[in-house]
């Protein structure tokens, strides 16, 4: 099953502000302005790579996400892969 890995914590500067969180990605030099559940996803995936169902389970138990929705999580992961903040690992 495809697993996802977050960018190494030492490559990120994460500054939570009010409703939004700022993330400076050292590898790309890009500043990202993100909303929940992105900081939570990055935090969970920082420990070790996870597949989607596991990730969903961890997010639900740790952060009490209000609308845990598999399709929404897939969409967020796709966006994060596109930005380079998350890497999709080959399913071998």
């Amino acid at each position: 099953m495809t697993r996802y890995r977050a960018a190494a914590p030492e490559t990120l500067r994460v500054v939570p502000l009010d409703a939004l969180t700022l993330i400076y990605h050292r590898a790309s030099g890009i500043t990202h302005i993100v909303d929940s559940p992105v900081p939570e996803i990055l935090e969970v995936l920082a420990a070790r790579p996870l597949a989607e169902p596991e990730l969903m389970a961890r997010l639900s138990e740790r952060f009490e996400l209000v609308d845990a929705d598999a399709a929404a999580l897939t969409a967020r992961l796709d966006e994060l892969v596109a930005t380079g903040l998350v890497e999709r690992l080959c399913a071998i």
Binding site: V15, L17, D18, A19, L20, Y24, G29
Partner: protein, 286 residues
Amino acid sequence: MRHLTHLRIGPIGFRVGSDWRGPIAALENLYRDYPAPEDGIPDFNVHLFAARPWRRLLRPSVHIGGDFVIPDAAPLPLAQGLLAAEMGMNLQMALGQRRFLLLHASAVERDGQALLMTGMSGAGKSTLAALLMARGWRLMGDEFALLDPATGLIHGFPRLISLKNEAIAVLERALPKARFGPVLKGTPKGTIRHLVPDARAIAAMAEPAVPKLILFPNYGFAAAERAVPPSETFVRLTQASTNYVALAERGFDALTRLVQTIPARALDYPDTATALTQVERLWEAA
């Protein structure tokens, strides 16, 4: 270049060269009380030049060049040579500044603390800064505030205040004894007249200030104020900064620190008298 002058604005030294005497004479007159670049070494060069030798005399038009240039920038008529020089200096800052994070904001200082005002063209940054100067605040600049990533302090850039259209008469009334440049009609931004910052602004231009409050003025609305959250302030300031990306992580750290440590307010105002009352009240409350 045939004609040359040197000057320092805040911490930044310029060397301005021109094919014509006119723009240099205007700069030397209006900036006569400004110091020379530190140690005689300018940070940036500005060149005002004729694209072809005969265009120095025949329908003279002033191209803006220097260390940093925008290709294909439209030239200005020689009558607007002072504006070309000012644009040339702004351009060097916008494209070449690497020591400070540029905030597209006017800044005034009181008691060692800085008030930053930022917004779109026409929001009233320059007008309000000039009027606050008339009321005893120290003008730090009407266009750029320089945030030092190493210290978090604001450095001033008190170039000539660029007054546009209706703001010209407002400041002529508020500061009848001040020195003004020539009235420049038909510029890309309408009529422009430059106002020379007062003696205090020039004497103290190298002194930084601790940022205290950010305002987003907006002219033409009923008086209203609202708190602007740090995330929105961050987005607005990065959008208005020409060197945020170039400064990379230093810029990120400096700006996140700024928006987390000082309050920001949006300020709608119907006229300048109302705005000044609002500003004074918000400053006291901050």
